[in-house]
Amino acid sequence: MTNAQRTPSGWMLLFLAWFLATGATLGSLFLSEIVGVPVCSLCWYQRIAMYPLALILAMALFPYDPKVVRYAAVLNAIGWLIALYQVLLVAGIIPEDLQPCVQGIPCSRTYFSLFGFLNIPLMALLTFTVIGLLLYYVKRMEST
């Protein structure tokens, strides 16, 4: 491969996916544990998908193991679907009275948001989307 310098390697794509997953993990912990944003059950389900990604993607970097895509993609897809569901819920496309909230924490119907539009579910959906794309490209690269 002569242009190996210019095309990102599978390892690099996987590294970026790991970086995103880890950033999302720490970011979500920062918001819930430090800032004190209440965590609803849908958030928890997304965390169940996101937190292991940070770990298994890191393990697949040393030694580089592209097989991780199989496992990571499933987790990522689950997280993506739940994030999408919650984004639709927040947007009001799915009726609001379906919205679950956890007992024992204060319930709330508004969300923390960044720049006025980027709320947590939207950030999660974006992150799962980008990680999904990166995993897809790793797979494509490895199968050629």
Binding site: W11, L26, A58, D97, Q99
Partner: protein, 214 residues
């Protein structure tokens, strides 16, 4: 080798950012107490108050009768008032965040016009699991709970929809939005919000306010 270096640097950077953000947040964060006390929106004249009217320390609690945490806090706050006899009072304000709660708080306000506010509130908290289903308030079931209070049912129904009651609820909702009340219960002690949610934080804030005022 440089891959390991890159990974290590990235992991280190993420951790450092996390720790720094946490430290900075805890150092500088206070939810603009000036806003609450200066604008006066944290209190509402005529809102239900428990404790001596001339107490110099006022806890304002934004609550939803459908909220489980509010139910848990209710006796704790009462104890807090007893802890400082004559010095602390609590003012209850509505934050009907659950679907259907707006009608239930209107019901409470109507019960108040018949002098049964606290009894009605305690009934609602005690029987919460009977009228709150899936985090949704069911006003009819809440109304059924209140029957033991021997309220004038006709008057209650009329008052619930009266302009003055509706206006009271609307003002609390509006002020709650101004004060950024996103969850219940939300407390303000002499206009100062809790730095972090928790009963210990509330006790501490009250203790400080009492020390300052007396």
């Amino acid at each position: 080798m440089n891959r390991k270096l890159l990974f290590g640097a990235a992991a280190g950077m993420l951790l450092v950012v996390f720790v720094l953000a946490a430290l900075l947040f805890q150092k500088y964060h206070s939810a603009s107490p000036e806003l609450a006390s200066a604008s006066g929106v944290w209190q509402r004249d005529g809102a239900p108050v428990k404790g001596p009217p001339d107490a110099k320390v006022t806890i304002v609690e934004f609550f939803d009768p459908a909220c489980g945490t509010c139910r848990e806090f209710y006796p704790l706050v009462a104890k807090l008032i007893e802890q400082y006899p004559g010095k602390v009072r609590v003012m209850m304000r509505y934050a009907p965040l659950h679907p259907g709660s707006d009608k239930v708080v209107a019901m409470l306000e109507a019960a108040r016009l018949q002098g049964k506010y606290w009894e009605a509130l305690e009934r609602l908290f005690a029987g919460q699991n009977r009228w709150v289903v899936n985090h949704t308030s069911q006003p009819e079931k809440a109304l059924a709970l209140m029957e033991v209070l021997n309220l004038d049912a006709k008057r209650l129904a009329a008052d619930m929809n009266s302009p003055s009651v509706v206006q009271v609820v609307q003002q609390d909702v509006r002020d709650g939005q101004t004060l950024n009340v996103r969850a219940t219960p939300e407390f303000f002690v002499n206009g100062r919000p809790l730095p972090r949610f928790g009963f210990d934080q509330l006790s501490l804030l009250v203790q400080e306010a009492v020390a300052k005022a007396y």
